[in-house]
């Protein structure tokens, strides 16, 4: 299982796609498996698909916990290296 990092949706694209922002890195993902996502929502990703929609407050709390546990820094580092 991958780390369930809440990732912010910054733009909706045609064909059920969206742009997300992960620590300053933007990538296109599929919204085909989750309904009702709007710009500003957070989603949990798995292999390029949004799996779950989170409200911003829930996402902020999870991100804070991950940061406190030292899990977030590694993942964001990966995203930046891969950009």
């Amino acid at each position: 299982m991958c780390l369930a990092i809440p990732t912010r949706v910054v733009e909706l694209l045609p064909d059920h796609q969206a742009l997300v922002d992960l620590g300053g890195v933007r990538k296109a993902i599929s919204l085909e498996l989750v309904d009702g996502v709007v710009v500003g929502d957070y989603v949990i990703l798995h292999v390029g698909y949004a799996l779950t929609r989170l409200d911003p407050e829930e996402a902020r709390q999870t991100l804070a916990l991950m940061a406190e546990a030292g899990l977030l820094e590694q993942a964001l580092g990966d995203a930046r290296e891969g950009a």
Binding site: M1, L3, S30, I44, V47, A69, A75
Partner: protein, 279 residues
């Protein structure tokens, strides 16, 4: 060569030479969640587990809860069995509907899978939606519908027998899990521990095999928490992949395709990449 993400990923590399593969590298990285739980009070650690994992959150939390219970520390409540069966079906159907069709050149069956996912929150809906999905896509059983088409195409191109067998096994697994769900069968799990020594272990069935948690407590806090997932065991080295390859790999491209299918059969719970270089 591409790097493996530290948030979770699998990278498989091999060298093709005269119809065979050697110089294997299998690099699996999973997030160090167990380490992140060390030092926390047990109830807090248990609450954080489902937040950290993108897949199988119910199974992860239940394995953690049972391991703590085996260590003499009772926290949390067990999930209803149907939620665990639903999670298991989710993983099986993801592979079957999204990943396998691409192996014979078809589009992923995203729309029916998305419709089915919408039923995950309620037991009666989940049962009805799973039955409807299978009636639509596999009307005459595990080897019918789109699976029958896939089997015919894979056989025509000379895919390894293990590939077709693995595809059928996955489709059968979905029918078996639906039967378990419809009959409200107890979910397979177990635990063992030494409360006097504050250590416990537990396993919970998942789509990929047994998920195990091992916990050691000290002075009311987590001293050690190990998560042993099926993916860790299946990709400890290349042995499982090699066993699922055809005897002869005529080109690097065919070898790459065969390795990718072998990885799919072993079903990692993280994204994967396959690289085959020509010697």
């Amino acid at each position: 060569m591409s790097a493996t993400p530290r948030s979770g990923g699998l990278r498989v590399c091999a060298r093709w030479q005269e119809g065979e593969l050697d110089a294997w590298q299998v690099q699996l990285v999973r997030p160090p969640v167990g380490r992140a739980l060390v030092g926390l009070p047990p109830e807090l650690a248990l609450a954080r587990i489902p937040l950290y994992y993108s897949l199988c959150a119910h199974a992860q939390q239940e394995a953690g809860r049972l391991a703590l219970l085996a260590a003499g520390c009772a926290h949390g409540t067990p999930p209803e069995a149907w939620r665990l069966w639903g999670e298991c079906l989710h993983e099986q159907l993801w592979r079957l509907l999204l990943d396998w069709p691409a192996q014979w050149g078809d589009e992923p069956l995203r729309a029916p899978f998305a419709r089915w996912r919408a039923s995950l929150g309620e037991r009666a809906c989940l049962k009805a939606a799973t039955r409807a999905l299978l009636t639509e896509l596999l009307p005459d059983g595990p080897e019918s519908g789109f699976v029958a088409r896939g089997l015919a195409l894979l056989q025509a191109e000379g895919a390894a027998p293990a590939v077709g067998a693995g595809l059928v096994a996955r489709a059968r697994g979905v029918f078996e899990q639906l039967a378990a769900l419809e009959q409200d069968q107890p979910y397979p799990l177990g635990m063992d521990g030494s409360p006097g020594e504050a250590c416990g272990a537990a396993w919970v069935h998942t789509a990929r095999g047994a998920l195990r948690h091992h916990v050691q407590l000290a002075q009311g806090r987590v001293a050690e928490w190990r998560v042993d997932a099926p993916t860790d065991r299946n990709f400890a080295d290349e042995a499982g992949i090699v066993k699922r390859l055809p005897v002869w790999l005529p080109s690097p491209a065919r070898a790459r395709q065969a390795v990718e299918r072998a990885v799919l059969l072993l079903d990692p719970c993280v994204p994967f990449t396959v690289e085959v270089v020509n010697a």
